[in-house]
């Protein structure tokens, strides 16, 4: 970790960059921006975004022993968990991106890119996990519900064709069509588990029940079933708008990833189980001679017979998590700007929301920085820091939305972004003018 941070520290001294403030509102929790209409005519970029939102920090699980060695303490971990244990992780690797403005007035912009996207969204009930891991003793008499519809993971490749158009000096829209190829998927179509261990308040029978209704789809997870992932197809669409109120303020909005992937059954393996298992007293006192272990074995055998899992091979489809962006960008001057972005991810009736407030400042011509504050899903202590290096047509951007994640032990939310961009105009521009005023035509 230290190595990475040293690299971050060193990098600004190694790289020079253009000294202008990019109209780049990508400093947010996601790699994607609501609307992208670059300043330059041609853009080539690659990037990596990875973020993970954990329900705990490593330090929550660490205990120091008397000999200074560390102990991962599961009990301590659970004591620090919230009621809802959500693990959300997204990554987006922009394998390649090429975009070009077209038209004499450069009002149209086309791009073609390929992204490798992963999305992990797992929601667990704290009590459910605690029941399974720490035992049922603390949950006697409590219904532990684990509704898990929509949990899952997907990895897909997205070939994106985008078209952005400046309608007029104020209005800009962008449309994207995405061709999706599913790479792997785990999808919890149904995952309702009710765990209940009865508390015999009046010494009635002690029993435990597992009421489960599970339907989990997997695609290309079982190596025996990953036959041809290219058959996992889907489409998605993005639409965005940008509106300039004045020279300083513009409003943005977009809806993204409206689409789904159909996972072909030849790659799929699903398991289905719907049963109610009740564990009652293991020992039957009515016997003349007690053989306790035989009784226990007999009971466990009968329970095993009750728990049945059906294996299915079906086609299923998963919807992509839709993203909604609404924001504003306010340019103070050539060097400084504020942005406010509301971002919501909507997946399986769950909204994962964030608010990003960013301040950008350009230092000289090669260095810019962003400082932002985010409220992410009821987490209020997310301060991010971004660094931009600009050398000529080449930009490099490193960002984290939670600088405190440097302390990995205490970080729950981490997201990093690395982007490399090479952009240029097809026509030679006046370097002197640009040196003094930047790309004034596109100055905002």
């Amino acid at each position: 970790m230290r190595i990475i941070l040293i690299f971050i520290c060193m990098f600004p001294m190694m790289i020079c960059a253009q000294n202008h403030l990019e109209n780049d509102t990508t400093i947010n929790s996601w790699a994607q921006s609501p609307v992208y209409f670059p300043n330059k005519d041609v853009v080539i970029k690659v990037g990596l975004y990875a973020g993970i939102d954990l329900p705990f920090a490593l330090n929550d699980a660490l205990l120091k022993r008397s000999d200074d060695s560390l102990l991962i303490s599961i009990p301590q971990l659970f004591s620090n968990l919230d009621d809802h244990v959500n693990i959300v992780s997204n990554s987006n690797i922009e394998l390649f991106y090429i975009g070009m403005k077209l038209g004499s007035k450069r009002k149209s912009y086309f791009s073609f890119s390929s992204q490798l996207v992963t999305h992990l969204d797992v929601n667990f009930n704290h009590n459910f996990l605690s029941y399974l891991i720490q035992g049922n003793t603390n949950y006697l008499g409590v219904n532990v519900l684990q509704p898990g519809i929509g949990n899952g993971f997907m990895a897909y490749n997205s070939l994106i064709l985008s078209y952005a158009q400046k309608v007029n000096s104020k209005l800009l829209f962008e449309i994207k069509v995405k061709r999706l190829t599913g790479l792997a998927s785990v999808y919890f179509e149904e995952f309702d588990i009710n765990l209940y261990s009865h508390l015999p308040i009046n010494a009635e029978a002690l029993y435990s029940e597992i009421d489960q209704n599970i339907l989990i789809h997997t695609s290309s997870i079982d190596k025996n079933r990953a036959k041809d992932y290219l058959e996992n197809k889907g489409y998605a669409f993005d639409f965005g708008l940008e509106y300039k109120l004045n020279n300083r303020l513009k409003l943005l909005a977009s809806i993204q990833d409206v689409g789904s992937i159909s996972w072909n059954k030849q790659n799929n393996l699903s398991i289905e189980s719907d049963s109610l298992i009740r564990l009652e007293s293991l020992i039957d006192l009515d016997q003349e001679e007690l053989s306790i272990n035989d009784d226990i074995q007999e009971t466990l055998d009968s329970l095993t017979n009750l728990f049945s899992v059906d294996t299915l091979y079906t086609t299923y489809s998963t919807a992509l998590p839709k993203q909604y962006f609404v924001g504003a960008y306010y340019k103070i001057d050539f060097k400084q700007a504020f942005s406010l972005m509301l971002h919501s991810i909507h997946h399986e009736a769950v909204f994962y929301n964030s608010i990003n407030l960013a301040y950008q400042r350009r230092f000289g011509s090669h260095f810019s920085t962003q400082v932002h504050y985010q409220v992410i899903d009821k987490s209020y202590n997310n301060f991010g820091l971004g660094l931009g290096l600009h050398f000529g047509n080449f930009d490099m951007q490193l960002s984290t939305y939670n600088i405190l994640a440097i302390d990995l032990l205490n970080a729950e939310k981490m997201a990093y972004k690395i982007a490399l961009r090479f952009q240029f105009d097809r026509k030679e521009r006046n370097p002197d003018i640009e040196r003094k005023f930047g790309d004034y035509k596109n100055r905002f």
Partner: protein, 689 residues
């Protein structure tokens, strides 16, 4: 300008790197602490689950457990036995004919002068006879001449009489033309030629009537009588025959009329035509053989014979009416008229009447059956021998009397109830080896009586075991009886013996196997209050019911059970535990012990003890308001487990006590439950500090 800023930035990054405090390479272990509870045993025990099947265990509507011993008939006292009644009784009576009073009878004859002259000396008679032919003639004097025997007409109402009393009147009417100076007459039985009476008269003028009477007592009078003129003296016409002035007109048909008149004749014997005679009425009574203070008023018979036997020495049929006003046959009082003939040659006669359906009603305050005999002779006009000592002998008997109903006052009689016993099946109580006291048992003596006699039963009731005897010490109690107006109703009486009026508590708590009873029944303990009655077949049935609510005080009662087991250990656990959720819905506190034993050596290898499981909360009545809830964790170390798995037998023992030991009694209801849910607590720990 920029460089200072970069430096500041660099310093800031270095500062931030120093926030990584821990060296993650020193992570040595993962601490896991999981605790699982697995249902092991589910126990729910009610009192009926513990007790053996026993037909004597009953459950009330409110679930109170009771032990009930009942025998509806341990003794039967027949109503008939309460009244000693002699079924055979008789009386003898005689009806004597007695002296017969004959009707007065009379007879008159005229003794004519001519007939007398025929009996005279011819020398005396001739002149009289010749002069009688003349219209006027001299009647010579007669001097003590015999006038001859002159016969009365025979009486037809007797042949002879032995006269007891009576007077014979003689009357003479001189219709001769001459005066009778003296006359002596004799009345003679012609048959016996015996003068039975003499009469003398003097100076009987012409046309004069003279009379005399004579007692005939002791005289035998035959029906043929004559009058004998023993001496007749008359001056006639005087001594001068020539004195024509003394000459008389007379005729030979001139008579002396002699009349005899028997009056108030009573006869001892004879041969007579019986007059209508009323024999002396005879009244008598038959006293029933009963105890002194018994006074019957009504008897209905179911069987019996009324027999009247008679013998008669009277030669005349006697009509005898026998009246038994107390006795009712066919709804009316017994009145029978017998025509009793002479039985000297034929032998006695007996007539019977069946008493089935008959009744005797005593109206007087005595246990007597009145008998009235009336004898009547209605003359049949025949001449029959007669003796005043002729009699009719009657024997009136009542035999084989059995009553279907008797009413009266039966007095105060003491009837012994013979010794008897009832075996009690005490399997329920035997299961308590001690420490249980039944605090509120009750014994009910039930009687069912359709005998109309108030009774008092003095019962001697004992419970017995092999080694102990405990008497109930029961007080004498009343057995109610039906009233006279109640018809055939049966009255049930229940008498309760409880802890306040008897020794039932002590009796029950010796756990008797046998109940032995005897006693005495006193009739009419309060004297005569209302009439007693007994129907045939009526009875008093005595039963008992011993009601033992399981209302107990318990001081250190021990219940135990043994079961063979086979236990294997649980590997890879340092220790685990048993968590017991206990609900004690019984009003008893308990110490529970499980002893793990080696049955071969009969040794206890280890034990698990749960101390003082308190009783449920009880109210003032000893009823459970709420159970006592316990949540107990029993740690079992690995060392303890190693010992337990060696056991092949578990001895379970429960010691129970009432609240405050046995100073409180508690009721046991069948809806009380002792529940225990036992869970196996697996404590999985790895890692650690």
């Amino acid at each position: 300008m920029i460089i200072p800023k970069l430096k500041s930035y660099f310093i800031l990054l270095l500062f931030l790197t120093s926030c990584i405090k821990e060296d993650l390479s020193t992570i040595a272990d993962v601490q896991v602490n999981a605790e699982w509870i697995i249902p092991l045993i589910d126990l729910s025990v009610g009192v009926l689950d513990v007790l053996p099947d026993d037909e004597h265990l009953v459950v009330d509507e409110d679930y109170l457990l009771r032990v009930l011993y009942r025998d509806e008939n341990i003794k039967t006292i027949m109503g008939d036995s309460l009244l000693e009644f002699n079924g055979d009784q008789s009386i003898d009576r005689e009806m004597v004919v007695g002296i017969v009073a004959l009707d007065d009878f009379e007879s008159t004859i005229g003794v004519s002068l001519g007939s007398m002259a025929n009996e005279m000396d011819p020398e005396i008679a001739e002149p009289i006879i010749q002069a009688a032919a003349l219209p006027l003639a001299y009647f010579p004097p007669l001097n003590s001449v015999f006038g001859g025997e002159h016969f009365y007409e025979a009486f037809d109402n007797f042949e002879y009489l032995d006269i007891a009393t009576g007077v014979l009147h003689f009357e003479l009417y001189n219709t001769l033309a001459i005066e009778i100076q003296s006359l002596s007459l004799g009345l003679m039985n012609v048959i016996s030629q015996e003068i039975i009476a003499e009469f003398s008269f003097s100076d009987i003028a012409v046309g004069e009537v003279v009379g005399s009477e004579v007692s005939m007592e002791g005289v035998t009078l035959y029906n043929e009588l004559s009058i004998v003129i023993l001496q007749f003296t008359s001056p006639g016409s005087g001594l001068d025959p020539s004195n024509e002035d003394s000459w008389l007109s007379f005729n030979l048909s001139d008579e002396i009329i002699c009349s005899i008149y028997a009056q108030n004749m009573t006869v001892n014997s004879g041969n007579i035509v019986f007059p209508d005679i009323e024999l002396d009425a005879d009244s008598s009574s038959m006293t029933l053989n009963l105890d002194d203070d018994v006074l019957l008023s009504h008897i209905d018979f179911s069987s019996g014979i009324l027999a009247i036997s008679y013998n008669s020495t009277a030669h005349h049929p006697i009509e005898v009416m026998i009246e038994i006003p107390n006795l009712f046959l066919d709804g009316s009082s017994f009145t029978e008229v017998l025509i009793i003939e002479n039985t000297e040659s034929s032998g006695g006669v007996s007539i019977e009447w069946v008493l089935d359906g008959a009744s005797i009603v005593m109206t007087e305050s005595v246990n007597e059956i009145q008998f009235y005999c009336f004898g009547n002779i209605e003359s049949n006009g025949d001449l029959l021998d007669f003796d005043s000592e002729d009699l009719v002998q009657l024997n009136i008997s009542l035999t084989g009397m059995e009553f279907s109903y008797v009413q009266g006052y039966f007095g105060q009689q003491l009837e012994v109830v013979s010794v008897d016993s009832v075996i009690i099946d005490t399997e329920f109580m035997d299961m308590f080896s001690g420490g249980v006291t039944l605090v509120d048992p009750k014994l009910y003596i039930t009687t069912s009586s359709n005998v109309g006699i108030p009774l008092e039963l003095n019962l001697n009731f004992e419970g017995q075991t092999d080694s102990e005897v405990q008497n109930l010490n029961a007080f004498p109690f009343s057995i109610n009886s039906p009233s006279l107006l109640g018809g055939d109703e049966t009255i049930n009486t229940t008498t309760e013996f409880n802890s306040t009026n008897s020794s039932i508590v002590e009796l029950v708590n010796i756990q008797p196997h046998t109940m032995v009873f005897s006693g005495e029944v006193l009739t009419n303990p309060n004297g005569e209050i209302e009439p007693n009655f007994i129907h045939s077949g009526s009875e008093i049935v005595i039963g008992f019911e011993m009601d033992i609510p399981v209302d107990i005080s318990v001081g250190n009662l021990v219940l135990s059970d043994t079961m063979d087991v086979s236990i294997e250990g649980i590997d890879d656990l340092d220790h685990f535990g048993l968590r017991a959720f206990i609900s004690n819905g019984f009003p008893l506190s308990a110490d529970i012990g499980l002893f793990f034993m080696d049955s071969v050596n009969n040794t206890i290898l280890d034990s698990l003890i749960i101390h003082e499981v308190s009783s449920g909360q009880i109210n003032a009545n000893g009823d459970i308001v709420s159970p006592e809830i316990l949540d107990i964790l029993i740690e079992i170390t690995n060392a303890k487990m190693e010992t337990i798995v060696e056991a092949n037998r578990i001895y379970a023992e429960v010691k129970m006590s009432s609240i405050n030991d046995n100073s409180n009694s508690v009721k046991i209801y069948t809806d009380y439950r002792f529940k225990m849910a036992l869970g196996l607590v697996l404590d999985i720990e790895s890692g650690g500090q």
